[in-house]
Amino acid sequence: MAWLADYPLAAAVLALVALGGVFGALLGFAAERFRTEGNPVVDQINAILPQTQCGQCGYPGCRPYAEAIAAGEAEINQCPPGGEAGIQALADLLDVEPKPLDAEHGEEAPVKSVAYIREDECIGCTKCIQACPVDAILGAAKQMHTVITGECTGCDLCVEPCPVDCIDMIPQAETLKTWHWPLPDPAAGRVEVIATDRLQDRAA
């Protein structure tokens, strides 16, 4: 090895190559050993989505939509049930500009609905049962069906397949349990502008 001292340039190059080799091997090992299963971003996006499984975004369920967003194939503003709050959360997560909800996919419902089957009209065809993405409809062939209200996400998917149109989407009424104090309305009395500004507004 003593001859290396006579060739400082070769020594330096050799040392660097050796270092590169060692760290490369280390990184390669770590990449294999600590490999992440699946795409964690998809899970994070999926956690924000409302899990209505309604398909209004154009994908068959929330997870496929999450995958499409993660792959850059879908916009973040295609989920009406999630609404503006959902878009904001997605924008924060992905560090992009929030966009207004795409009207093409529907509008945000002000009140959540649940499906209701008019049971005396039900013919027991099981078509709605097959359509329900969360198994919230109970029944059997030629037997009356009914919706388990607590499990219904209000996705609407059962309404279309019903051959006798006996399914209604009923907006959920506010109860003592769901009611809460509203935020005080700043417009109702809070003065944000200086009095003279307001006079100018009026003059204009």
Binding site: N46, L49, P50, Q51, T52, Q53, G61, C62, R63, P133, V134, D135, A136, E151, T153, E174, T175, L176, T178, W179, H180, W181, P182, L183, P184, P186, G189, R190, V191, E192
Partner: protein
């Protein structure tokens, strides 16, 4: 003398307590109709056990508790259940809730009361059952089921029992008059609570603006109960604040007093416990302060639960012209009741009917000037103006990070705000928003699980169908193959013989069996003469018997038809021949045997 501690912040609003203290507690009487909400407490609403049209007596059960965190509802007087329906209830939303409506008959007939026997009072389980069964929920204003508070859970020992006689909110004097007039009952109830919890010390905390109450409770208190008097400040009566005043200890954020070995009960609750245990009387009435400038006779009324507020106010002489609004609770923490038909419930400690001059409409809110008065006033040492910004921006994570949930909604911050910002309103709304979002996200998680479970099931079913199809295909192929093979081997004829053998088999086998038996018999004849001799002699004996029987028959038959007699005679002859043959055989055999020997 105990050292009294101070808590951070607090305010000194005008007390306005004298108005309602002029007269002693007076019974409000029986209104024509009582409306009893099924949820007068925190927790699951009670479940009705009466039918419409059913006659009930005072103290009878109307609705039973639904689970552990729930309390039952009892009939406050006798009458008929006229409806079980949704009625407006005292709630800031003004939304209706299920109620049991009783048309009273004025007789006030009561079901017999059953006090808890002395022997059972030592059993904590029996005591708790009785306290829950009597429908007792915290009477201070929150309405938390008392029995739950009295079950601190395994591993938690209660060091201190605090009886809260603070009543720090302006205008309200219900607890004050209760302490003045029923100090004995309060002490008796405290004794029961102490027996249940076995605390090291029992403290009764009273603010120093109630000298008469202090004197009355001191006179009634047992030697092991300490009446602690401390300076008046709002909100000393908050559970966590009172604990800090009396013990100098803080309840940890997000915790409950039992975490530091303390249980706090209101004086009204102590009286209700005493009545439930010692008298067997369920919670059907409470002391309510009716006050405000629009009330002609302010004072404290013993009101049956379910009494419509409008009816009570009429009794107290409310001038509806001057009344600006109706507030349940005090001016700091109370809320407006939109509908005077709302009933008095277990938590109604005060009905305040102020005039416009007394409690003016708050002026429009101005911008926050960051003066910091709210932070100085906050008894929970929070940063109200910071929380205000976050609440406006709906920054829920930051709100939680700044301990929004430690806010007791006392309203001290709004009270001191020079810009008249309704701060506490922002916190109430934000808290509810956060809780609603938590619920929603739980529901979303649940929906996702169900969706994924369904997807998995669909895939499994598809796989099963596929597997079955493959199985059927394989079976069909195997069958076809077997058939082809059979057709091929038929030409050789091998299978035909086998089939014939199989069909003839039973007969063949029977024949073979018979042959084998004969062969065996022959072998026996040759091989074992002793046996043969025995058989033959038995044969001779049998035939001889048969001959005897035939002769007897012939002798017995006399006359009649000749052919019968002839037949009998022939039978005898034949039998004689048989006998002779058998005897000859036997003889031969004997001779053979002796020759051999």
């Amino acid at each position: 003398m105990r050292r009294v501690h101070a808590f951070h912040g607090g305010v000194h609003p005008p007390e306005n307590k004298a108005q309602s203290l002029a007269a002693p507690i007076q019974p409000a009487g029986i209104p024509p109709q009582l409306v009893l909400p099924l949820a007068q407490h925190i927790g699951a609403p009670a479940q009705p056990v009466v039918r419409v049209g059913q006659a009930v007596r005072g103290g009878e059960l109307l609705a039973e508790a639904d689970g552990f965190v729930s309390v039952p509802v009892h009939a406050p007087t006798s009458g008929t259940v006229s409806a079980i329906e949704e009625r407006p209830v005292p709630h800031p939303s003004g939304l209706p809730a299920p109620c049991i409506v009783i048309d009273t008959d004025g007789a006030d007939a009561w079901a017999p009361l059953a006090p808890l026997p002395e022997a059972e009072r030592a059993d904590p389980t029996k005591l708790r059952e009785r306290i829950q069964g009597a429908g007792i929920a915290g009477m201070g204003g929150a309405g938390f089921p008392t029995a739950v508070k009295l079950s601190p859970g395994p591993g938690k020992t209660i060091e201190t029992l605090i009886i809260n006689g603070t009543e720090c909110e302006p205008y309200i004097t219900a607890d004050d008059t209760l302490m003045r007039e029923r100090a004995g009952d309060i002490v008796a109830g405290t004794r029961i609570l102490a027996d249940l919890l076995a605390p090291r010390e029992i403290l009764i905390g009273i603010e120093d603006n109630k000298p008469e109450a202090i004197a009355a409770v001191r006179a009634a208190a047992d030697s092991d109960m300490e009446v602690v008097v401390f300076p008046t400040k709002y909100p000393s009566g908050g559970e966590k604040q009172l604990i800090e005043i009396l013990l100098g200890k803080q309840v940890p954020s997000g915790g409950i007093p039992a975490d530091i070995g303390v249980v706090c009960q209101n004086v009204g609750t102590a009286v209700a416990v005493h009545e439930a245990v010692a008298l067997g009387r369920p919670l059907v009435s409470r002391v309510t302060t009716v006050t405000g400038e629009a009330v002609a006779h302010p004072g404290n009324y013993e009101v049956l639960l379910g009494t419509p507020m409008g009816w009570l106010l009429e009794r107290a002489g409310v001038d509806s012209e001057r009344a600006r609004r109706l507030v349940m609770g005090g001016p700091m923490m109370g809320f407006s009741i939109p509908e005077p038909a709302c009933p008095v419930v277990k938590t109604t400690n005060c009905l305040l009917v102020p005039t416009e001059a007394e409690l003016p409409t708050p002026p429009p809110a101005q911008a926050c000037i960051r003066c910091g008065l709210c932070a100085e006033a906050c008894p929970a040492t929070l940063l109200p103006q910071q929380l205000y910004w976050f609440a406006q921006g709906k920054e829920y994570d930051k709100l939680e990070g700044h301990n929004l949930f430690d806010c007791i909604e006392c309203g001290a911050c709004s009270y001191v705000c020079p810009s008249h910002i309704p701060l506490v309103q922002y916190y109430r709304a934000s808290k509810a928003d956060i809780l609603a979002r938590r619920r929603e996200s739980e529901k979303a998680d649940h929906a996702r699980e169900r969706f994924e479970a369904r997807q998995a099931r669909m895939e499994r079913l598809a796989a099963e169908r596929e597997a079955k199809r493959a199985e059927r295909k394989r079976a069909a192929e195997a069958k076809a193959k077997a058939k082809a093979e059979a057709a091929a081997s038929e030409g050789a004829g091998g299978t035909d013989d086998a089939q014939a053998a199989a069909t003839a088999d039973p007969i063949q086998a029977a024949i073979e069996r018979a042959k084998a038996r004969k062969a065996a018999l022959a072998a026996g004849t040759a091989g074992e003469p002793a046996d043969r001799l025995a058989t033959l002699s038995a044969n001779v004996d049998t035939i001889a018997k048969r001959l005897a029987a035939a002769r007897e028959k012939l002798d017995a038959y006399d006359g009649g038809e000749a052919s019968v007699a002839e037949a009998l005679k022939r039978g005898v002859e034949k039998t004689e021949e048989k006998l002779a043959r058998a005897e000859a055989e036997l003889r031969e055999a004997r001779e053979g045997a002796s020759e051999e020997a």
